[in-house]
Symmetry: C2
Subunit: 727 residues, 2 copies
């Protein structure tokens, strides 16, 4: 499993200083934990719990015996006849080491539509997987390379074209700058690549930008890096799928009207594949990746031989009408666009724990290979373009033009296009691995909603996966599947993460002081500076073209992540078990049973079986209880009192007259007034509620319970209980 | 208050044979009862209740003393400091004859946005009204006439035009048929008018089509008549507003692009007016109605004098290209379209109790006057059109053309157009009175959802009013405010109600046998036959043009009304208090406290203050209780058991392992399995639930309680209680 954010450090207890992020993993392989939502308490919390428990049973009668067998014996259970027989299913629960285990049948919803949906889901996504099926795959160098490199290497399918498209706006003269800009980009690739080599050496157990930036530059830097990467992953999906579709439509122009549909189908396929949680078998990645690399080298070598035959005289590009003056903006834009050729270079540094031993060594070799490949492919392609005088044009990708020029239109060209499309889809797939996982890590550190911690039936992070599909698919539709219009958004996010990660490394060396730390720091500083340059150039030169969206979104999301953390932090403190400190804002509720003094209020509108059941429920709890009736008119109030007397007046009745006919609000205020009288009381409002069997029946019933519950939610110590009444 | 469906028969107890509808009214004036939702029980029900109450207290300890004063003494209440001080408001509750009365302050929601909305609503719609403010207005002949006639008389503003528009499709030759058709329509008006005279004589306390048809032809006929009328009211709003707007844009053509906006503003104004529940002062209706009638007579008399000057030689209409052959379809369509001139004729027969004494006599005189007026206005206008060779044309109504021809373009013309627009808006207003009231009567007889019984703060039926606005406004927008395209829908509904009501009268006379019952029956039979003719002709000839919608909708809604009645009927039977008959489908729940055996289950995911509060709440009720923990993994399960032991193991703990990580479904099934073991138990599931203070916080919390409640709703005897935890 290629990984960007796992450091294999095992499950750290809730130590929440911003520098040390919590990475909830299970077992030795660094697999992510399905129990991340339920982290075990610290020793201190346990001690507080023990102290809180000491006072628990004071002043209470003995616990009554349980009237049921909690182990759910299969044979002894009497089966109800009639409507409820289908409840009894063999294998729902099995007793196992004193634990009752819920089997597959216990996952089936009861309602017919619910069951149909579940069955359909299991048919499409596969049956649920047990938590114990979580495992971590280990990669060798040769399987690791294709899995980790698809994102990076596929970028050369659109990077050079993006560069030239930006330059072409300046006319033919501007195109002459393509080689110098490419040379700078090669330098940038080397610098960033060397920077990441250092990260691997410094964090041999693996660390992504989120971790490196958090640990060295603080929480905010970590959040910014993470958000930059999240945006990167989203755009990787959109851009890769768009480029993959362009590779297809370049080869088969008749499909060019269905670009959006093909792209959405691709996103859908990748989504379903990821929701199934398929394990990426090495060969699935190996074939398209190696064939893509091979075809690119064929194209480059063949092309160079051909132009060598003409004595390396470049063909003049066709005349272009520049729409823009050649200046800083134009060059900067071309530079930032071309820099998208190196997105994905960070993958290896996150995935170290997934390598076979020696992990760091294998990772370094893989990274070296990847850098060599991306630099040579990028440089080679730029040379071919230069010598053949190719320019981007609508309807056919630059890579397709190169392929046609070098290979003709036959089978080799078809292989090139097919492997291009495939590696681009694989790149999208890689983002689908990384996005939900990064959100998981953020959620484990309170920087994202907890629901991203949740592992679904197939052991994948469903919420993150679906979020990615919604956003990336939405972008794809909004931009009508045009790669080039998405690229302006691209550089900012990813180079923000690069910059922060490398800057974090500089700080790391200043703290670490291992041998050669000075030149190491210098190297990372160089990487950080160059990444930062791309970031700034990208943000400035493409600001109007769309980068402003990202420039605005990143800080906004960062503020959101901090707010989420603040909320969860506050929540944790106020829920902390600690008998000494009563949080100031907590209402008057009982923490120990002896401290709970109850009052039950039964809301009654008319005397029917529903009311009687609610009354019986409340009365049988043997706590102080009274009935509350809200009446719109004097006359009705008198009627109701008579009815109450006829019934036998078994429970005190309070009639509240509501001359304005509102029921819920006067009830709310009345209960609030009782609460004010005795704030330490626990007031339980009991309402009978007829259960609707069909959706349309809900329109015929207007139950008060839910509205009352919503209204009384803000009053401490008030519980609203609805007793469901079945017809 | 003009009324269509009130018979002033007072509050009949729930006698539910279809023939005798329940009309819940209050006091002597026939005002509708604000207590209609809470009808008093019958004597038999009371006896059953007394029997049920007898067994109530067996085997129970004495009721504990209440820890609060239910009369909410203002002074003695200790006030909480801090966040809750604003709870204490003077005047929220007043003690009054042993009843606590909720004052105006008790209507204020607690939340700031809720308060803002309430204040805005009170500012726009006026402050809440007390139930005792319900009153019934009594009308004399002269005030009654304008109030009850606006719907009928305003119809001549669009009826003749609709007739001629339909004819014009047959070319100039077809226009020659306008006078014969008009003559038949006059006959129809007289027949239906005489029919309704008889209804008044037979039901001197008033009866609408719903009542007459139900009483004489059975429930289904009553429902069909009511639905026909409901559709009539909807279309009255749409058509009258559209015609009113057309009167305005005919006079001021520059407004013609804003027709939809003006119309929606009109509907909005009428809606707000009706939500305020304004009492229709007689003069509000008198001025536009009388001025409209006067102007029409001026136009007719003036026009006739003018054409008399030319010796009554009709001007030939301009050449028209007929688009359709002259045949049955065309003539029938013209006939049915012209018949819309008499919609609203039924108003008096419903409103008898609103007249001063002698009610029936005053009503008869009013009806006679209305018939004379509508016949003379309709006939006169048709003659003027004929002699002046006028034809409908786009951009100006026929009435405006007539007015310009007779009055020139000056002030009298402006008065004509203004009073036309006003009387049309008043007609829409009349529908706004009738639609919610008819729904109220239907709801009182279980033919419509109970929520239509509800009287809002302003003593109006908000739900019916808003429903009418949504439907009529929607139609207006869909049809872009074009009167003529709405008229095809019109005839069917209203003439269905006429037909059923008159047919019911025939049946009535056959049962009644009063003096002259034979000719009375014959007269009503004539009215029924002619109405039925219009109904059939309208449905057939305009089927394709849009009447099919109504033809489909009426039976569909009737089936819906019967289903609603069946549901409420079944509900009533199964909720009936009757110790002998246990409904077969009712689950095992306790009707008397001694019969309730409790088991409490506390769902616990981690041990924090929220869990402890839920545990304390459950334990303090002193019933058998255990804690349920759902764990995704062995390891986590062991952790949790340790924590439980550290805490002190005060309550039995059951760990259910859910290797597929689902929490809610295994919990649901586990509780169901317990229920199966001891179906007679009442199982209460207690869950702590952190209260979100802001909407965005809800996205960060994913409480299980609501999902558990939804899932367990179908299991009898299981109650899900969420204990709100405040931070």
């Amino acid at each position: 499993m290629p990984g960007k954010e796992s450091d294999g450090s095992g499950d750290t207890p809730n130590g929440h200083d911003p520098g040390s992020l919590r990475i909830p993993t299970t077992g030795s392989g660094g697999a992510l934990s399905p129990s991340a939502e339920l982290s075990p308490p610290t020793d201190e919390q346990l001690r507080a719990l023990a102290r809180a428990g000491a006072a628990w049973n004071q002043g209470l009668p003995a616990l009554p015996r349980l009237p049921v067998d909690l182990d759910i014996p299969q044979e002894s259970a009497p089966r109800l006849s009639g409507r409820w027989t289908r409840l009894a299913q063999v294998g729902e629960f099995q007793l196992h080491r004193g634990t009752v285990e819920a089997g597959r049948p216990a996952l089936e919803p009861r309602s017919a539509p619910g069951r149909a949906i579940s069955r359909l889901r299991w048919a499409v996504l596969g049956p649920p997987l047990r938590s114990s099926a979580v495992y971590a795959e280990r990669m060798g160098k040769l399987t690791g390379l294709p899995i980790l490199s698809s994102d990076l290497l596929s970028s050369v399918a659109y990077g050079p074209e993006a560069l030239l498209t930006a330059l072409a706006a300046g006319g033919a003269a501007a195109l002459g700058l393509s080689l110098p800009i490419a040379a700078v980009l090669v330098l940038l690739m080397l610098a960033v690549g060397l920077s990441y080599r250092q990260t691997i050496q410094a964090y041999p157990s693996g660390a992504g930008s989120y971790i490196v930036a958090s640990a060295n530059l603080g929480e905010r830097a970590g959040i910014l890096a993470a958000i930059g990467l999240l945006i990167d992953y989203i755009l990787t999906v959109s851009v890769s799928i768009a480029a993959g579709v362009a590779a297809i439509t370049s080869a088969i122009p008749s499909l060019s009207h269905d670009e959006v549909a093909i792209g959405l189908a691709g996103i859908g396929l990748v989504t379903v594949g990821n929701l199934r949680g398929m394990r990426q078998a090495g060969y699935v990645f190996a074939i398209p990746t190696y064939s893509f690399v091979a075809m690119i080298y064929v194209v480059i070598v063949g092309g160079l031989i051909k132009v060598g035959g003409h004595g390396f005289h470049p063909v003049s590009p066709p005349h272009l009408n520049g729409t823009e003056a050649l200046g800083f903006l134009l060059v900067g834009r071309a530079f930032a666009s071309g820099a998208t050729s190196m997105t994905g270079i960070e993958a290896v540094s996150n995935a170290i724990p997934s390598f076979k031993k020696p992990e760091a060594r294998n990772a370094l070799v893989t990274l070296d290979l990847m850098i060599v490949m991306v630099v040579s492919m990028f440089a080679g392609l730029m040379l071919i373009v230069h010598f053949n005088g190719l320019v981007p044009r609508r309807g056919e990708t630059l890579l397709s033009q190169i392929g046609r020029a070098a290979l003709g239109g036959g089978v080799p060209y078809a292989i090139l296009q097919a492997s291009t499309a495939l590696i681009l889809f694989l790149a999208a797939n890689t983002a689908y691995n990384d996005f939900p996982r990064l959100l998981f890590f953020m959620a484990a550190n309170d920087h994202a909603p907890r629901r991203f911690l949740r592992m679904g039936e197939r052991l994948v992070f469903i919420n993150g996966t679906l979020l990615l599909t919604v956003i990336a698919g939405g972008l794809f539709v909004i931009f009508r599947g045009q790669t080039e219009s998405l690229i302006p958004l691209y550089a900012v996010g990813v180079f923000l993460a690069f910059t922060l990660s490398q800057a974090g490394m500089v700080r790391h060396w200043f703290r670490d002081h291992r041998r050669g730390w000075r030149w190491r720091a210098a190297l990372n500083a160089g990487g950080a500076a160059m990444s930062g340059l791309v970031l700034v150039v990208g943000a400035v030169t493409k600001f109007v073209e769309g980068a402003w969206v990202v420039v605005v979104a990143i800080p906004a999301l960062a503020v959101g992540a901090l707010a989420v953390r603040r909320y969860y932090g506050g929540l944790r403190v106020s829920l902390e078990v600690d008998e000494d400190s009563q949080p100031a804002s907590a209402g008057p509720v009982c923490d120990v049973p002896a401290g709970c003094e109850h009052l039950l209020v039964v809301g009654v509108s008319r005397m029917n079986r529903a009311s009687l059941q609610a009354l019986a429920y409340a009365r049988s709890l043997r706590q102080p209880v009274f009935a509350l009736h809200v009446s719109p008119e004097d006359e009705e109030a008198d009627h109701f009192r008579q009815v109450w007397t006829v019934w036998g007046n078994h429970i005190p009745l309070k009639v509240v007259e509501s001359p304005y006919r509102s029921v819920v609000l006067p009830m709310t205020h009345y209960i609030e007034a009782l609460h004010e009288q005795r704030p330490e009381l626990t007031i339980t409002v009991v309402m009978g509620e007829v259960v609707a069997r069909h959706v349309w029946e809900r329109f015929l019933l207007s139950p008060l319970g839910p509205r009352l519950r919503r209204n009384l939610r803000s009053v401490p110590g008030v519980v609203v209980t609805t007793v469901p009444i079945h017809r």
